[in-house]
């Protein structure tokens, strides 16, 4: 990896935009509900979570209203899971492009990460509606939001490019990835708050970079307790490592992709 790699990516930046634009345009074409699907998915998940985990299982929501507790975690989680999945499949599903034309290969997973942001923003606005409805006081902590989004994108993209490159060589990824993502959801404080985890197991939770990230996203709209800087610190560090490792692996396989895809 060198300066040339980055310069080239910059030259092709418009292609990221066009491929993301294609994904968004195509995603809801010929559907009746169109972009509403971006809301329906987290909405119904939230309703089920509220009924099942909040109502039936009586899992604590740290005193936060159920819809806000679940939705504030589901919106970033949905972005993460769909981006890792789409980016992971991006090279294989665009193999026609890969074998016919040159462009920096990383453009494909990057476009997947960009196009997912549309649904993420729609989900965020939707969450905003609930926040206003419940009259949650908002404060200066919202200034942290852009930084959290950048962290979320880097984490999803870092894993996405790693799996995308791996998928070119080993098609096992196609089967393993949805399963891994499903498991990861339970290892992430989405249906439960971090406060439920006994102190001696906290370090285990901190190994999952999503923990600090999702917890802080939740903290933005429900600052019921002080922010856990330790957990967020781990998130930032692990995200950084995953992104660099993902990028390095991607770069090392880039030359042979068109031959083996």
């Amino acid at each position: 990896m060198n300066l040339e790699t980055f310069r080239e990516f910059w030259l092709y930046r418009e292609l990221v935009y066009f491929l993301a634009w294609r994904d968004v345009k195509v995603r809801y074409k010929q559907t009746v509900l169109g972009v509403l699907w971006a809301i329906i998915q987290p909405l119904f998940t939230m309703v089920i979570f509220t009924l099942l985990f909040g109502g039936l299982a009586k899992i604590s929501t740290d005193g936060i209203p159920g819809p806000i507790f679940y939705l504030s975690a589901l919106v970033p989680w949905t972005y993460f899971s769909s981006t890792v999945g789409n980016a992971g499949m991006s090279l294989v599903s665009n193999s026609g492009l890969l074998t016919k034309i040159y462009f920096p290969r990383i453009i494909l997973p990057a476009a997947a990460a960009l196009s997912g942001l549309i649904d993420f923003l729609i989900g965020t606005v939707f969450l905003g509606g609930f926040v206003l409805y419940y009259g949650v006081p908002l404060g200066a902590n919202l200034l942290l939001w852009p930084a959290l989004v950048v962290l979320l994108v880097l984490l999803a993209l870092g894993l996405g490019i790693f799996f995308a490159a791996l998928n070119v060589k080993y098609r096992d990824v196609k089967y393993a990835l949805p399963f891994l993502i499903q498991l990861l959801m339970f290892a992430t404080p989405i249906i439960y708050p971090v406060s439920m985890i006994p102190d001696r197991f906290r370090w285990l939770l901190a190994l999952n970079p999503l923990s600090g990230l999702i917890e802080t996203f939740r903290w933005l709209v429900a600052p019921s307790r002080p922010i856990d800087w330790n957990l967020l610190g781990f998130s930032v560090a692990i995200t950084g490592i995953l992104f660099v490792v993902g990028l390095a692996y991607f770069h090392s396989t880039e030359r042979t992709m068109a031959d083996i895809v």
Binding site: V26, G96, I260
Partner: protein
């Protein structure tokens, strides 16, 4: 003339296992257990698609690259357009390269023609600003103005092709690499393609052109590079290169060709052609074939194991490589359920060989139904057609009469 492109001792090796099936983690693990001390890709498991290829191209040159299927032409183009990387060697290119290995790369069915112009242009390396500027010209050139805001899933294949080519034609690259786009599309489209490339040449752009349409190569290119089995066999004037290439098709045989030794044939080899015989309708070998004669082509083959539903066929080319016809028994509704191991032959009876005198090339193949796998392919043989008084008028046909002749009758009672 300033140099536009420099290729230095370029080689590309493919590992056979890697391109034949997708890798499974399990296979790798099994392999690791079987051969714990490493038995990685040996020479036998890899093929050199290109070996020590070097050449230079000046600005404004139009170079035709010719060769058989599998000779390495496409690999060369892919390396030049950076899609794949060479195993060794170097490529130096001056300026912007655009490669057109396919028309309409990245087109999406659900998007409109206009949206696809932006998408495709962007994939081919155009900036949005550039597409904005050239949009009107692209749409006009494509001739699909009326449907430009219709999703292209409603387009005919011809319309798609024209739209894709219209984008490519407005790329304005310094070096254009074109692979076989002429193989698709009707005569009008081909004309447009050739006119565009002609325009590029006049504008001082460098063009590398691969095609099996040797007539187009000859018209368009000043220089020809003939690639055979991954190496440059000839690099020079386009006519010489084409003659040399077509010469490789021709074997010196009168009543038949021994095919067992033909080099560079394709296919997996479970069943192979061994010999081609030219016979008269009475079954005797014919020493001479003339225009209008009846002819039996007897294809001898050898199968190593039982083959189900094989398909035998051949292509007939002129000496300059223009495809005259391709035919096979399935086209006539004749199926061969099974071929037993051992030797056998199959006859194709031609009622009247309506070819003008000259030398022709045959390329024989055997495949499974549907075309893959190819058991045997690109097996070369030649056919010499002698002058005959086909119209019984005392006037002989020659190569100036075209490629074929139609038996005909003229009615002049109303003159």
């Amino acid at each position: 003339m300033p140099r536009s492109l420099e290729v230095q001792t370029l080689s590309k090796r493919y590992r056979l296992g890697r391109i034949q099936h997708h890798q499974m983690l399990r296979e790798q693990i099994v392999e690791l257990i079987k051969h714990p001390f490493g038995r990685r890709a040996t020479e036998a498991e890899s093929i050199w698609a290109l070996r020590d290829v070097s050449f230079e191209v000046d600005e404004g040159e139009v170079v035709g690259i010719i060769g058989r299927n599998g000779a390495g032409k496409s690999t060369l183009l892919k390396i030049l357009s950076k899609i794949t990387y060479p195993t060794s060697g170097k490529v130096k290119v001056k300026g912007r390269v655009a490669s057109l290995l396919e028309v309409g790369t990245g087109f999406h069915e659900e998007l409109t023609g206009r949206e696809n112009v932006y998408l495709n242009g962007s994939i081919l390396g155009m900036r949005k600003r550039e597409v904005d500027e050239r949009l009107d010209a692209i749409v006009a050139f494509s001739g699909v103005e009326q449907f430009i805001d219709t999703p292209i899933k409603r387009y005919s294949s011809g319309m798609r092709l024209r739209l894709g080519f219209a984008v490519a034609a407005h790329l304005e690259p310094d070096v254009l690499i074109v692979d076989e786009v002429l193989a698709v599309g009707d005569a009008g489209f081909q004309k447009k393609c050739i006119a565009t490339m002609e325009g590029l040449r006049k504008g001082g752009r460098t063009v590398l052109f691969v095609s099996h349409n040797l007539a187009a190569v000859e018209n368009l290119c000043s220089r020809g590079i003939w690639i055979d089995a991954g190496k440059i066999r000839m690099d020079g004037g386009v006519t010489d290169a084409i003659k040399g290439y077509m010469g490789s098709f021709v074997d010196e045989q009168v009543s038949g060709s021994d095919l067992s030794g033909t080099e560079n044939r394709l296919g997996t080899g479970e069943i192979r052609y061994t010999r081609l015989e030219y016979l008269g309708t009475d079954g005797t070998p014919c020493a001479m074939t003339r225009s209008g004669d009846a002819l039996v082509l007897r294809f001898h083959f050898h199968a190593d194991k039982p083959i189900r539903e094989p398909s035998f066929g051949f292509r007939l080319y002129t000496e300059m490589g223009t495809l005259i016809t391709e035919t096979y028994h399935r086209l006539l509704g004749i199926h061969i359920p099974k071929v037993e191991p051992g030797d056998g032959y199959i006859d194709a009876e031609i009622e009247s060989l309506n070819l003008v005198p000259g030398r022709y090339a045959l390329s024989l193949w055997i495949t499974a139904p549907g075309g893959t796998p190819v058991y045997d392919g690109d097996v070369r043989a030649s056919l010499e057609v002698e002058v005959a008084d086909v119209y019984r008028s005392g006037r002989m046909l020659d190569s100036r009469s075209g490629l074929v002749y139609f038996p005909q009758r003229w009615n002049i009672t109303k003159v």
